[in-house]
Amino acid sequence: MSPAVTIDTLFIDELIAATRDVFKKMVFQDVKASLPILGDAKRPKANVMGTVAFAGKTSGLVVFYSSMDAAQIITASMLETDPGHITGELADAIGELTNMIAGSFRTRVAHAKGEMWAISVPTVTVGSDFYTKYCSDVQRVLCPFHMKNKAELFVELIVTRSAAQ
């Protein structure tokens, strides 16, 4: 049986800080963070999911989740246009948003711990009734955020167990 391992709290703090910074500077609105949820006790209801992988001394994924409505508002805000005009731009915008969150998170961890990671290009999944299953050898923490209109967003950090130890 694997020993219980928890994700470094510094990672969680830096992921929350990176997310808030990206929203403030690139989405032009503050998001309010709620208490992080360890493990997979809560699965976010999402129609849009952006993913960026990272690898180095620590390896894993940064995953962004939102509803379609929230993703349209985010995309419109980034592009400074009306949410009703958003069509094909959504996937690229959420990919770029996830890329910036993961990149900023990587930079913050590099400064705090001296760890250098490579990150992947972002992938975006749009749809409904999908479930992403990861191998059991991971630790995960789900960070909830709320936008001004109360829409709920999530950013999840998934770290391979071997790296977490």
């Binding site: 980034m78 592009l79 770029e96 910036m100 990149g103 900023s104 930079t107 590099a110 250098m116």
Partner: protein, 121 residues
Amino acid sequence: MRFLIVDDSSTMRRIIINTLNKLGHQDVAEAGNGREGLDRLTAGPVDLIITDWNMPEMSGIDFIRTVRSMPAIKDTPVLMITTNAAKDDIVEALKAGVNSYMVKPFTPDIMKEKIEAVLAR
């Protein structure tokens, strides 16, 4: 003043264009990767190139190296905007010929400072 933005993300190109417009710059050309950027530059010179690093077809670093090797455009100022913020990344970009470096996310004020600094050289 004419700008060329080279980025594979249409979202990021739009964000940069919106920011440049707010700073009073309206003449902006776009390219989706380094190869397209070179095509735009052969069609006519620009006063400042703003480029991403990670792009398909031709990366930002290869694009800048090529620009610096072409006599007609080799002195064009280049500002790189990327999430690659490690010291080694910045050194590599400067060696390739980048004049200044800006890390995403950014604010209009930071972009204004960077553009002014590059153009003042």
